[in-house]
Symmetry: D2
Subunit: 392 residues, 4 copies
């Protein structure tokens, strides 16, 4: 699949970021580890010059993994030297911090890309072996009322930590009508009801472009689902397992999430609604969230909860919103090549919120915006329902 | 091009709408004019059953034009009979009105599709011959300050006439930050400055997907522009003419409009900003606008104006906004097959506002939302700049 | 389909040939009827300059049919004048004769392209209405022994008439091993046996490329065959009719012909074998052959025959051979643009022999070579079996 | 490129052949090394069941190389045991011999696929480092007269060794007209003359399909040629080097070979002509031919020769012929799955003769037929000219 990259490429690219945007700027007598790497491991920065074509990343047999590891060690050592020398330079600090968050993003992609690659391998290999996860029923979905009104949307240094990407800025007033918000994501069991009700065979449930997508590949289930003749099964990073009805549904495209919501008589939330709800959580993005560090590497059923607030807002599955990925009012990309990071992708992509079970802990926050095209499935992407408040 | 349809198909499809959604529901002893037409002239209504594939419309040699004209006359006569009988039925009234507005939409498509077809014909045929249009300089662009704040967005029966499409509803409060709005659309002359400054060769001016679009087809000018070795020329419905620097630029894709705006240090307006500005006009959508009925069938330079309000908001060129085509809060599609009219296309399309020189007079209003994918060029699509208000 | 052209285009192109290759060379003060037609109606002659792209022929709304008819009348009149003046010029005579044979080829394409266009029209229109054809059983297939040995292959002015295309020359000695040749083409009934025996579902019967072709479009029957729930039916120029088991099977691709032959324990003949057999007929290409002039416009069951020689060698269906379309030893294309007629297509095409029910009478001969890519189906293409002679 | 495979896949596939066609048939209590390998390393044998899709071979990260090596060792050991036990079984002997020749074929593909992969790597890695090769001028091309007439074509156990593939059989009489045959392959220097004369820009030199191929990818030189601003250079298995004018030209498609021959006023030989010439060599396929075992892994200039017979018929470059890859008269594929080896590819491919610098010594013979589609370039494919004998 052209959207995925080999593990070796990810490893080298993360290091390339530090070499290109830090070492090259701050080191005296900078010399590249290997001049060819500048082209080979550039992802999409036009400003940096020529790039190796993305779909050909899989063809790169050299440098071998050993050489990439030497590259990483070399750059790490040089970074360590710079870190002590430049500690007081705010611009240095800013780009190093950006590089660390960039590395976290690729840590997630590493996992989703490996999962995708193993899926095409008839060996049915597992990346890790910690399954099974005890079955827990999350109980019925609750609808939580949200008052809406004016609220401040976007990155907020007081509550969101010390770093954000440029696409989360500037914070700005936003107006919301009253809405209702689901207490938890949609589960496998609920999604199977949609399938049993002919969900993949009823054009009236789908966007026009989504229906074309269903027909073109004759889709009848989410990515990684298959049927062994007896039961539905799911390819996971822990191997091939039966589908657990209580686990949040994942590897859904935007099209599937949108069709499910229409079938359920609801809709996807806007990203403003999602952020509004996230900002009112008593414990945002903390506690025992199911991030990559926990090691499950798969969404889990939510722990029983008494609270009348949404659960699983962070971790488990990224949640599709109905919002296109657009600039905030007053948005300015960063100057220079690092400004190519976010703004230029603001077309035909939809925003997902909240991170997933493959996201490093500490990487996301209430203002964090992830984005993918509507047919992307290989991320841990699920959905949470919303609906307009009933008229009083 | 798969997006365009033959004239004969448009003529039959407009009549098909009345036969299928009116005659079939209201006529006693309804019998179709020809059962095969139900499939042949269905555009995209899944609820109505099987459709003839869109890209094959050009292959339909039968029915011949004469037969299509008989079809139109037959349905027109039967509609006339129903009109007197069912005049007091509000549901009847509603679907007939929808059919009339549907017909107006296809009147515009008829013109843009004919223009596109003639472009591929080395005969350089003209659809009409009323050129040349006297050259008038529109004067420099003015920036008009707009205060923003809360305003009511969407169809308003008091000011917007007696009809609207479902995608203009419901009206709802929307919040805007202060912004500045260009007094008129971008002209050919201004767009040529962008080209002369390397606009089509500088990736930093384009969205990533837009740059791919430029490279894939090696684009260096808007659609219908060519160069005869001496000067730039433009294919129009009035024949092949030199590019007039004072005319609004048109046949731009969203990608081109967006790149121009970035080059100009500005941005595209949101559709809320556009509607906010349109609602404050002293004479919205009236007077001497350049709609299809005027016969120019090409955008014209604006008449000199003393007013400090935007000109050419209606007619001349549809104006790209930066807003994706999404449902309004609380949006509900119409029930039944006519509900397939709008909602299911809400993906990967951008909103254009204000109608064009090919739009029938009386068809558009301040709340009217047109939408096309970001690479569409064959409509009379241009742009108007906006920018954030300077900090006080 | 990109291989077919509109009727209007064929009409104009046949005239274009005479205007370009005759009038332009021989008329004093030659002036083109319309300079744009030179591009518009050039099929593939690189030497003549720019061409209008083939897949866009269907987009040409102008010139209208009336104008094309005026074009034909005009060129016909000027040709008539030249014919009396240049009658004694052998070069003139040669190119006019070539133009006439070229026109005959397009007469056949006119019919096959119309048939293809009507197939995509849900109106089920018929081109002509002379059906039904009386059912006649052709009796079982006979195997006729052919001795082979050395024979002279290629155009022979003594027996093949006064004209040939360059690809039939030079005649040359060819050696054949003994073989057996089927007395008649394969019939619909026989082909249905192949289908009933799983023919379209058994990869071992197909060439690798043919199997890919079957799978890509999920083919299960010849082109123009369908099933109305009760019986197999066939789209013909005479309308939609049931499949007659005694009629030669047609609209087969090379892949289908080759797979059928393998299933039948036989093979396709080489073009040398076909020509060898045709040269030994007592009445080659004369008598009551089913050519276009007969008006059936569909293959017919053979009349009962006592003779121990093959029937239906000419007319009815063009017969696929196993021979690639290659140059004969010593082949030289004609000089100039008309030399582009044949030679440059000698790649990835297979030879068919004998003409069809859509071929003008008098157009084909024993040395005539028709050629199409292996997936082409829209010609009246069938097959006749051959096999190696049993060892003595 | 979909035609190439990873090294790891080749290594496993060669072993898979022995496991599937030998061990599974002859071992008592056969158990597969790993059942998944049956699918994973099947190339194209439909009879063996499901296959892993070819373009996805590059995605297989598991089994890792170590596991593949264990697979090879395991099967080698089991083969050794069988070899002593079944030595007297002719059927066993036959399939093992086939497996050895199959392995030789993949040894060549291993090299050409590695070369292709390194070409896409901006690291400019070399597979081996034995360059430079001393420059030797081969002297002018000589035309050698061949009398033609009847000769016996195809595998001949007396002269061609103890093994052949089924497509070389049965031997059969073939008739040739007198022809002339070039003393050596076309060189880089000669091919550069073709380029300098506008070879890639003159449609009249190309087959129609070849010209489309040139235009589609804007080709202006053979594969692996580039220009560093100062001189023409060539990617080789020995690294990136300047183009040597005396070396045989290689990595030509059939289209390029055919166009060159037309430009040179000659043509490609038929495969019968090539074999006729090869059978008359005094030292066929022996002596100091440049096969893979010599280690150059690139074509070399011919050593000076006094003989009036063609040089470099074997090794250096495979030579395109004008002959399609078709069955010989009386051809029968082997029974069972191994019969899928050759016959089913007999469509839209052209024959090459003589092996190359990447072919294992001892693998080819005068009757050996290699075949590729006309656009294939990644083999060491060149050409030798032929022409019709001048009339006496």
């Amino acid at each position: 699949m052209p959207d995925t990259s080999p593990t070796k490429w990810h490893l080298a690219h993360m290091t390339w970021f530090f070499e290109t945007f830090v070492l090259e700027q701050y080191e005296h007598n900078f010399k590249p580890f290997d001049p060819a790497f500048r082209v080979l491991f550039n992802s999409y920065y036009q400003d940096i010059g020529e790039r190796h074509p993305r779909p050909q990343r899989g063809l790169i047999t050299r440098p071998a993994l050993d050489e990439v590891r030497r590259y990483r060690t070399n750059v790490d050592e040089r970074m360590a030297a710079l870190l002590s020398r430049c500690a007081d330079d705010p611009a240095f600090d800013e780009v190093v911090t950006l590089g660390l968050h960039h590395e976290q993003q690729h840590q997630e992609l590493l996992l989703t890309d490996i999962k995708h690659l193993l899926w095409f391998n008839p060996m049915h290999a597992a990346y890790a072996k910690r399954w099974p996860i005890g079955a827990v029923s999350p109980g019925p979905l609750q609808w939580l009322a949200c008052a809406g009104g004016m609220f401040e949307m976007g990155y907020d240094a007081t509550h969101d930590g010390t770093f954000c990407f440029d696409n989360e800025t500037p914070s700005h007033p936003s107006y919301l009508q009253p809405f209702e918000f689901a207490s938890r994501p949609v589960t496998n069991g609920e999604f199977e009801n949609f399938m049993a009700d002919g969900g993949y065979h009823r054009p009236e449930l789908w966007l026009s472009m989504g229906w074309d997508w269903v027909c073109a590949a004759q889709r009848t289930a989410p990515l990684y689902w298959h049927h062994d003749g007896k039961q539905r099964r799911q390819h996971t990073l822990q191997g091939d397992v039966g589908t657990d009805p209580h686990t949040p549904a994942c590897h859904l495209s935007f099209f599937e999430a949108d069709a499910y919501a229409r079938w359920a008589g609801a809709r996807l939330p806007t990203e403003a609604e999602w952020e509004f709800a996230a900002r009112r959580l008593r414990q945002p993005a903390r506690g025992q969230h199911n991030f990559a560090d926990r090691g499950a590497l798969h969404p889990l059923p939510p722990a029983p909860s008494e609270a009348d607030e949404p659960v699983q807002m962070f971790g488990d599955v990224r949640e599709w919103t109905q919002s296109n990925y657009n600039p905030y009012p007053g948005y300015q990309p960063l100057p220079g090549a690092v400004g190519e990071y976010n703004g230029k992708f603001m077309c035909n992509q939809f925003v997902l919120r909240g991170g997933s079970c493959a996201t490093p802990a500490g990487h996301v926050r209430a203002s964090y915006r992830n984005f993918f095209p509507p047919d992307a499935q290989w991320q841990f992407s699920g959905l949470r329902l919303a609906r307009d408040a009933a008229s009083p």
